[in-house]
Amino acid sequence: MRLGRGKTILFIIVVAGALPLLTADFASAQQCDFVTGGGFILRDSGAHGNFGVGGGCKSGSPTWGHLEYLDHGSYPPGSTATVPPPFHVHGTGVTGYFFIDPMTRDISGTAETNDPAHLKNVNYCVEVSDNDPGSTDTFVIQLKDQSGVVFYTTQLDTDHTVHGGNIELHKHNPSTTGTFSSGDSCLGGGQCAGTDSSCGVNGACVACNTSANFHCREAPFCPPGITQCCFGGQ
């Protein structure tokens, strides 16, 4: 059956009009973008963790951004620092930018600190979420030494809320020709396989729902006694 001329023209206009929308939605989930933010978190000790952060892809690689972080509560465990906090972390380069879910990005990079035990050659991972309006933005930072051992993290804190300031997720621009970093997250763990029954929401032993952007985390970033757990989800 053929469409009449009028219906055909209407069909063409509707389909042609919808194509850019569909294409834009698909592309926005694939193309690299930017995230920026500043503010402070409250550590479990009550101390402020001041931060300024940026991440994104520019000119073909996920190397855009920066990190500044100061913990007014304490140095990492085992520190030999002889001066009082704050513990300083200064990013020296961005090495990765990860899509975690539509509102969450991970940024990895290199850093130096004022902790005598970790002055140089520190690798950082920051996870930020732009959840406002409607919910609160979040900030998590983790530091590893050259051997890949985590020596500082706010992941285990009870509150990751950005209490002052803001996290802002920005769309890609013409310079973001690169792609997100491969892999799941720089915080540890890998993408759950659909058959991975050891990943459970809040420790429950169920398959991790990869379609909803859950991700597998490993101890010590899971509830006590749980070696792997799901995190995230839409």
């Binding site: 063409i12 402070f40 500044e68 621009n173």
Partner: protein, 214 residues
Amino acid sequence: MDSLTSHNWKLLMLAGALVSLLACPGPSEAQTVTGQASAVQATVLGVLGVGTTTVLSDTGTLGGTSDAREASLVTGTVPSLLTGEALHATTIGWPDQVASEASLGSLTMTVAGTGISADLVMARALSVLGSAGTGLTNIAGLTIGGVPVFPTGAPNQTLSLGVLSVVLNEQILSAGGIIVNALHVRTLDGLTDVVIGSAKAAITSSTGSLPSLF
């Protein structure tokens, strides 16, 4: 089963091309963007009237609609005036908008003998082609002279405190853009002028802004 004839496919391609042309800025439509952000701008006049301006964590000027600039410092100091932490500034351009932001934590400042402190100061500016610029300011834990001050959130909240003029969430509109100064402190004698958290964003089109289809 419905089908489209060859003639209809040509119409489909023609309509698609027309929609794409209307939806996207064409090569003849040139956007002029302005973007810059800095955590601190401080100008102090000396006894001979010679001014010294210190800018901390400054992105510099946005280079175009494909540019993205950033600057940061773990700590910043203007001697005898202020200190701050986690200084951060970004400005990003797009063919249809510019977004800039700047922030600073643990601000401690003394201007004309008055102590000013804040846990966090942040300015954000957004300019979208064809729309008025918008600004947002976050200020947490602000005290002036030891007295807590609670920002209303309204643009250009002005406090007159003896020899000081303090403006919170200062917003200066211009053609196609906005400058947002989160905390602007001046002495009435004009000797000291300090802006904490400044974000500028503007975008204009040489052919005017086209109505967006989507």
